[in-house]
Symmetry: C2
Subunit: 488 residues, 2 copies
């Protein structure tokens, strides 16, 4: 009997039996073939088989699961739709995986208060679909919006192309129900702009399942824009396109979307779906302006002027919805398009101050040459949220090592220019090491103190998001060694 099997037969069997009693045997999966689909999220390099999967139907199931895990000291990982890109929902081998995907009812849509209340398993796009009948929508729109759930959006503080103008998830959620590891239900937030007491609502956002389990989300809805118009601008250098991004915002316009693609991303996409991009451009910007027609017209004029004086070689205004859709289809197909050019690819997610985009793109180019790996860039330029896509062949001996080093170099360069290691994908396991670079021991110490306060036994999603101080020191020493190695 392996370690795992003997533990499973003893301590493990106890919790599984107790969960079957409390929740019903049909909601508890343990058979290998039933559990298999839940062994990883959308970053499948990290996989693990949990002791059991609980398919929660409602908050009561969540409370019962938390109470049992707490009483028996068993780790508990929560999973929404499993679309996360940083392995935040990878199960814990000796733990329970709680799946909230079946808690998928929209509880209310209130046009009077411009809010919707939903269970955590409701998909992001379903919220906007339900609100559309009232002329409203939910603004944050991750690329995975047809598949990702609102509970997961909160846990990862998800972004999307609309976040420049409308904010990330934390700016669009008004209230939560959150179950603590000991099974208490907290009602957090409300319809108002601010709440007294410590900001538990913000604390839950991006906490990646490490502080509690989300069982209900109240989102802010906003009126559907009367009109959306789309511009595309070509540039002969990445630097000029980057500077134009800053200049637009500096002119007082906050576009609904402001996306950039570099030459490699353009050519891959154009070949894949004929979006109508200029193959001779070093970079293009795609810009959505939305609002009342008069407002859009005013912004259009201003943005065209700024693009002209920023050295755009061509500026086009989409003549109709069909052309608009085609440009956007290209942007949204960029990842699979780039995927066709390379056996494997890996997408990073760092954010930098808007006015440093040009510097960072040039640095990425230099890193790319150093490690002999191609990098394509297609990203949310307006909020400085980069998505460098590293292309590689996993079957080449040291390719994966070089990819890891290149990714670390890029993320740590983002930190050096005042940015962060993630814009919207979260830390999870993927960026665990870089937390040691972005934060000092004193700052990591505060994170650990908060974790200890709200989950004293450390049962919620262990070994994710916040590394220990020992781990931080170890990683920093390792990186110093690597840098010295490079210089020596």
């Amino acid at each position: 009997m392996s370690d795992r099997e003997s533990w499973q037969a003893g301590h493990g069997a106890g919790i599984v039996a107790a969960l079957r009693d409390a929740i019903g045997a049909d909601r508890i999966l343990t058979a290998r073939e039933q559990v298999a689909p839940f062994e990883c999220d959308a970053l499948p390099v990290y996989c693990e088989r949990p002791l059991a999967v609980v398919l929660a139907r409602d908050e009561e199931d969540v409370v019962a699961t938390a109470r049992l895990c707490h009483a028996k000291g068993v780790p508990l990982v929560t999973r929404g739709a499993g679309t996360g890109l940083s392995a935040g929902a990878r199960p814990y081998g000796r733990g329970i995986l709680l799946v909230t995907a079946a808690m998928s009812r929209i509880l209310s849509v209130s046009p009077a208060s411009m809010t919707a209340r939903a269970q955590p398993g409701v998909l992001n796009e379903q919220l906007s679909t339900a609100a559309a009948a009232h002329g409203l929508y939910y603004a944050p729109d991750p690329s995975s919006q047809i598949a990702c759930s609102i509970g997961g959006n909160v846990a990862e503080n998800a972004g999307g192309v609309h976040c420049l103008k409308y904010g990330v998830t934390v700016h669009n959620v008004l209230a939560l129900r959150l179950v603590t590891i000991d099974g208490e239900v907290l009602e957090i937030g409300g319809d108002c702009l601010a709440q007294p007491g410590y900001d538990l609502l913000a604390l839950a956002h991006g906490s990646e399942g490490c502080l509690g389990i989300i069982t209900e989300v109240t989102v802010k809805l906003i009126p559907l824009p009367e009109q959306t118009r789309t511009l595309m601008a070509d540039f002969s250098s990445v630097r000029a396109a980057s500077d134009a991004v800053s200049a637009i915002v500096r002119a007082g316009v906050i576009p609904a979307a402001l996306e950039m693609m570099d030459a490699l991303a353009i050519s891959a996409t154009e070949e894949f779906c004929h979006a109508g991009y200029a193959l001779d451009a070093a970079a293009i910007l795609i810009i959505d302006l939305d609002g009342a027609p008069e407002e859009v017209a005013a912004e259009l004029g201003l943005v065209q002027e700024v693009l002209g004086s920023s050295g755009a070689t061509r500026v086009q205004l989409a003549r109709d919805g069909e052309q608009r859709q085609r440009w956007w289809k290209g942007r949204k197909s960029a990842f699979p398009a780039i995927g066709r050019l390379s056996p494997d690819y890996y997408c990073i997610d760092g954010t930098v101050p808007r006015h440093r985009i040009g510097d960072v793109l040039e640095a990425i180019q230099a890193f790319s040459q150093r490690y002999d790996l191609r990098v394509a860039n297609v990203f949310h330029a307006g909020d400085g949220n980069l998505h460098p896509i590293i292309m590689f062949n996993g079957r080449e001996g040291d390719a994966l090592d070089r990819v890891e080093q290149l990714a670390a170099d890029i993320l740590e360069y983002c930190i050096a220019v005042g940015g962060t290691i993630t814009g919207e994908h979260g830390v999870g396991i993927e960026k665990f090491n870089q937390m040691a670079v972005q934060f000092s021991d004193a700052e990591i110490g505060q994170f650990l103190a908060i974790k200890q306060a709200l989950d004293p036994k450390g049962l919620l999603n262990p070994d994710k998001l916040i590394p220990s101080l020992a781990h931080c020191q170890e990683y920093r020493a390792l990186r110093e060694g690597q840098v010295e190695g490079t210089n020596g």
Copy 2:
């Protein structure tokens, strides 16, 4: 020798001497006449003389003060400009009062990143003045903006008339330096929209000096609007005016300001400063629209249409800057104007969902009659942030008791309709009791756990913001008794 004096001579003398050594005797005030101005903030019913006042010059002084208090177990209260309205900066009798008002340098204004970095004692308005040279400003504008400091704004998560469109302080601050009670300096946040790890930046906002001491604030600056136009609408009922507020936002317009005044506030103000308000109106709305001229024109049309169909009896557009200023001068003079009608007044600060404003104003009217106390209303209607002003005569025997009961009834009604007990003034001592009504024991328990995690000895601003569970239970029992008494 009193208890205080004997403690002061013993334990107390130790910390004062140590502070003199570390920081310099001239920065440590202990003489009664020197300490007197610091015994209360702008809610002077709560006063206390601290052991000593430290006038910090820089972060080093703050760190030294925190370290000494931590080592000796002495409470530490931080005070910015002292304009707070909930007694958050009232000193602790056996503690040190740390004043950051002299840390008043603007460290940088960066037009490229549209940010400013400031020491905590910089006054709110000074930020906008410094940014104006670059066509930028800092949006949150509490009524006290010429006197309140940015450090205090963060500690109280301050609001203002512009918060409907531009958010409260937490939405406009990008980064902080925060000193922990054991003297560690944390660098929190950055130029980007979101940060990995738990949201310490949001946690610091509204934490009222209970989690750390702010030593630097980086704020977001936004472009000065090209144009601002102002509408005033008269209504024959408070209910109609309230419904118009919802209808405007529902139509997709977020005005730069959307303020309401009721008949009592109108007549007091009109008499005081001849702002040009209609004395026969039951309520007026004052509405600012800002942006590019075309955008403002579009919004003006839409708002005028909504006002018309919401039953406004008259809608006026300010013909020039002079008329605009006069209308706003009235709004800003409303507090002193109401003050003239009554020996004393007390201003409450609750927030309710926008579509419940009408219900709450009617309830306030009923409470006002029950306690035989006049209440005037002048407030940030757009974000549901009420400021009922209770008029009373403190020399009448039971007046203060009735005021307290009336205030509690109003705040607790705000909670009952899904609102909160504060919009921008904070909890401090003033609303300590109402925390027990707004939050369950499980929720208060989480607040206490966070406090314990970041300030294990409980030295930072003790007995403010978060009541103990025992205190909560006691207050809830008291209120139940009162309600039974009222009904019986």
